[in-house]
């Protein structure tokens, strides 16, 4: 049972898998990429959800992929065009006076609080300085602790020097706020609930945390650090996130990667305690010198490889990886542009946050601890058809919203009886900010974390494959023993969001993993 042989087989054609495969092919390796779905892209895909209505089905904004990666893969010449760049962020308010988070456009903030208007640039500058110091650690495999390897030591030293270069006041501040909850930090700086809600939103987005959870300043800094390499701006590719994946796939094919879709992998083959290839669900085998998995760590280790090939202590760590998604996706097909009250011209082409205060967010978070959904959740809303008419039939619009906090599993039982009620609740919420929206809804689609798990083949339906928090980052991501993209099984590597530095359509895990493979496997 050998089958055709490749130097490298990449399991899964998400953005990280595509990036990894491309770099491997450019490094001179023969690469086969196997994707279970009928198209590549993973959680960065555009698909129809109603006749003529298309939407970025999971991730809906591009803001973390480094410029360097886009440049190296020449994604521009591969068909990646931005329908919107430098998208503004606006905090919606029920009183009809939204707040722009754009520093240059601080008129609306000035009107609410002059002291907040003064504090805001200083706050942003501090966080950007601190995030800047963390940024270099994204570019390489995390150092291992307690080894004699000079590479690990150099890597730690570089990080240390970078932090030291912050100077004493900033370094102290980093130590002080690093483990804090974002609410305490924001309370120190600001008084306007709407501003604090919007700033706190990014600290908890995609996580299992509320603004009063410890470590949320860290998650905020981490997101800013990741965004730094991408210019810190939000963008929307023409044709949705699927267009990015198409460009990545073209770059991969140009580099010589062979892509097979509708080719779900059944298991990873092991010979002489080394990864030796894969066998598809169809029974078709392939052999390889290295197998690189874009699948999440639990899928990779427990399902594709099997616990029997791993030590029990390692398996215990893998089963303990926190990977329950708490984030849902709402797609609305509309027959007209939604009219959010008081929204400035141009704000609709950006991102709208519905999280009017930190208390509101924390209250939205509370029910999720008990397996219930919030009746007043928080939303990140985009109307991509406003800047990209190809996504909807003429005159119609598409609204895409990330909804937090939505449990993977309801304590009361199945999602099915609740799906319609929750969808209606979300539409009602939007209606109160954009009167008339309900009447314009042509069709609606809700993806709970369980749906995301099914559609995108991610255990637990977590965007990041594994919760991104202090206990699961850097050299302990996803677990010690697999944090440098290699795994306890020789020849098996990880390249997905479950690895450092995480998900969010960044592509860095894929690039780092490829570098690791090229360095090790001759």
């Amino acid at each position: 049972m050998n089958g055709p042989r490749y130097d490298c087989i990449v399991i899964g054609g998400g953005h990280n898998g595509l990036v990894c495969a491309t770099y491997l092919a450019r490094g001179g390796r023969s690469v086969l990429l196997l994707e279970a779905a009928e198209r590549v892209g993973g959680a960065a895909v555009t698909r129809e959800f109603g006749p003529g209505f298309k939407v970025s089905a999971c991730a809906h904004l591009l803001h973390l992929m480094p410029h360097s990666l886009i440049r190296e893969l020449s994604l521009g010449t591969q068909g990646l065009h931005l329908a919107a760049d430098r998208m503004p962020t606006t905090a919606l308010s029920e009183d009809g006076y939204p707040l722009s988070l754009d520093v240059a456009n601080h008129g609306t903030l000035e009107a609410r609080s002059s002291s907040d208007a003064v504090a805001y640039p200083a706050y942003l500058a501090l966080l950007q300085r601190l995030a800047g110091a963390l940024q270099p650690m994204f570019e390489t495999a995390p150092p291992r602790l307690g080894t004699d390897s000079w590479r690990d030591r150099m890597s730690l030293l570089r990080l240390g020097l970078r932090l030291r270069a912050l100077g004493r006041p900033d370094m102290r501040e980093l130590l002080r706020i690093g483990g804090m909850c974002v609410q305490d930090l924001l309370d120190e700086y600001f008084e306007t609930p709407l501003l604090k809600g919007a700033l706190g939103f990014d600290a908890v987005l995609g996580s299992n945390l509320g603004p009063r959870s410890p470590g949320t300043v860290f998650t905020l800094l981490y997101r800013m650090a990741a965004a730094g390499a991408a210019g810190g701006t939000l963008a929307l590719p023409s044709g949705g996130l699927g267009a990015l994946s198409n460009a990545l796939a073209k770059a991969a094919i140009d580099a010589g990667v062979i892509i097979r879709t509708e080719a779900p992998v059944e298991r990873i083959l092991v010979r002489d305690d080394c990864a030796a290839g894969v066998v598809l669900k169809s029974g078709e085998p392939f052999s390889a010198g290295a197998v690189i998995s874009n699948a999440d760590p639990k899928t990779t280790f427990l399902r594709l490889l099997g616990a029997g090939h791993l030590d029990a202590g390692f398996v215990r760590r893998v089963t303990h990886v926190r990977a329950r998604g708490l984030t849902a996706k709402l797609h609305l097909a509309l027959d007209s542009l939604p009219a959010f009250r008081g929204l400035e011209e141009g704000a609709l082409r950006g991102r709208l946050l519905l999280a009017p205060s930190l208390e509101y967010i924390e209250r939205a978070f509370n029910p999720s601890k008990y397996g219930e959904f919030s009746t007043a959740p928080i939303l990140e809303i985009t109307v991509p058809s406003g800047v990209d008419p190809t996504l909807a039939p003429p005159g119609s619009q598409v609204l895409s919203a990330i909804v937090q906090y939505v449990p993977y599993q309801l304590a009361a039982g199945s999602w099915e009886p609740e799906r319609e009620r929750f969808t209606n609740l979300l539409i009602d919420m939007l209606e109160s900010y954009a009167p008339g929206l309900r009447r314009s809804v042509v069709s609606a689609e809700l993806l709970t974390p369980a749906d995301i798990e099914r559609e995108f083949r991610v255990t637990g339906g977590h965007w990041h494959h594994a919760e991104l928090a202090l206990d699961q980052f850097l050299m302990v991501r996803p677990v010690p023993g697999a944090a440098q993209y290699r795994t306890p099984l020789e020849g098996l590597y990880l390249c997905g969001a479950g690895s450092h530095p995480g998900g969010g359509v960044m592509g860095v895990a894929g690039r780092n993993a490829a570098r690791q493979v090229l360095k090790e496997a001759a």
Binding site: D273, L302, G306, G308, H309, D311, A312, G313, V315
Partner: protein, 404 residues
């Protein structure tokens, strides 16, 4: 057995089903805790009890041994991934001594695996291991349950044990080869008592372990004592057993090694290679926990090794430090178990020694402290590395055993 009248905190140590019988015979009232039970340390004198093991028949209450039932479609694969030995070769009706390791190849514990049927195994071990066993079960179709309290056991050991047990009613027992097990039914006090008997033990001598329902325990004990009345059968405590197990070169957890799950200090864990248990490690059988770490250790060579020592004089070298030469300047190891062997008539010890110094025949120097009527003296005694076991009578293997 938790009695319903006393809450657990009033009963910190459990009593085995043999407790009342043992208590009546335990002249020194000398009990020690073992795995949550109270068991006898010495009944009368250690010497008398030891010589029952070597010259007639001894009986030892084995009930506190922690027992797990491991059953299911993939029980065999599960055990093979758990322990370092190839369980695939273990036939139904056979027993195997095993160790299991953590990811780093450090021993968590040792024990015996009984293959009761095609897919039904029993694991006996000195300490509770359920967490590790359950963690190891991820990905395997296997059921694991602790059955310690459901099974009482006696270890019957000594040169006349087979003959005695045949008189007790275990017809055909002589056909059991070492590490065989078989089911018997014995009529005791006009009650049919089912027993499982394995030719296993911790003495390095001819001997058997008898596994029974707790309800039958006293009945079996009484009948055994009756049969043994004229055969110098003697109940023994842990102390006498310890002498025999050192002579046999067997390791005792917490004495000769500390479970890797319990060590706090770096470098105090022990691998099977360090403990001279390479013969239990099968690198060819497929993956098992610790395999990659042990392969690496094998390539590098273990840092230290367990050795047997024959020490000059007759003073047991308890806890003695070992030196390269008589000057005592350079320490190269330390003693873990020491005893004067009454049968081998040698002053023997088990010791951990740094790897570079180990060659059979090498003489190290043991620093022994002697208590001379409360006046302490220090003696340097030559300690020669010798083969283990120190005492290995042919009768421990011969089938059928000699009839007495």
């Amino acid at each position: 057995m938790l009695s319903e009248s006393a809450p657990h905190y009033r009963q910190p140590l459990l009593k085995t089903p043999f407790h009342d019988r043992a208590r009546a015979l335990c002249q020194l009232d000398s009990f020690i805790p073992w795995a949550g039970y109270t068991t006898v340390d010495v009944f009368t004198t250690v010497e008398q009890e030891y010589f029952a093991i070597r010259n007639s028949t001894s009986v030892y209450d084995l009930t506190p041994m922690v027992k797990y039932r491991i059953a299911g479609r993939e029980a065999g694969q599960y055990l093979n991934r758990l322990v370092t030995r190839d369980i695939g070769k273990l036939e139904p009706g056979r027993v195997a001594y095993c160790v299991w390791c953590n990811d780093r190849g450090h021993i968590i514990d040792d024990g015996t695996v009984f293959r009761l049927s095609e897919s039904d195994y029993r694991l006996c071990t000195g300490e509770r291991q359920l967490t590790w066993l359950l963690d190891s079960a991820v990905g395997f179709d296997v059921d694991i349950a602790e059955v310690t309290e459901e099974i009482a056991a006696l270890s019957v050991q000594g040169p006349t044990s087979c003959a005695l047990l045949k008189s007790f009613g275990l017809g055909g027992l002589e056909r059991l080869k070492p590490f065989d097990l078989a089911d018997f039914t014995v009529l005791v006090e006009s009650t049919e008592v089912p027993l499982m008997v394995s030719r296993t033990g911790f003495t390095g001598d001819l001997g058997y372990e008898i596994w029974m329902r707790p309800a039958d325990a006293e009945r079996v004990w009484d009948a055994l004592m009756e049969v043994g009345r004229d055969r110098a059968l003697r109940p023994i405590g842990a102390r006498a057993l310890n002498i025999a197990r050192i002579e046999a070169g067997f390791l005792l957890p917490k004495v000769d090694f500390v479970s890797a799950e319990h060590t706090l200090r770096v470098g105090t864990e022990r691998s099977p290679l360090e403990l001279g248990l390479e013969w239990l490690v099968n690198f060819q059988k497929g993956h098992f926990t610790g395999r990659r770490a042990l392969l690496e250790e094998k390539r590098r060579g273990p840092r230290r090794r367990l050795v047997g020592l024959d020490i000059e004089g007759n003073e047991p070298a308890h806890n003695a430090l070992l030196y390269l030469d008589r000057s005592g300047k350079r320490q190269i190891g330390s003693v873990t178990s020491a005893v004067w062997s009454p049968t081998a008539k040698r002053n023997i010890a088990l010791a951990m020694m740094d790897a570079p110094h180990i060659t059979t025949g090498l003489t190290a120097w043991a620093e022994i402290y002697l208590n001379r009527e409360l006046v302490w003296e220090r003696r340097m005694a030559p300690a020669r590395i010798v083969e283990r076991p120190f005492f290995a009578p042919e009768r421990r293997r011969s089938t059928p055993p000699a009839s007495y």
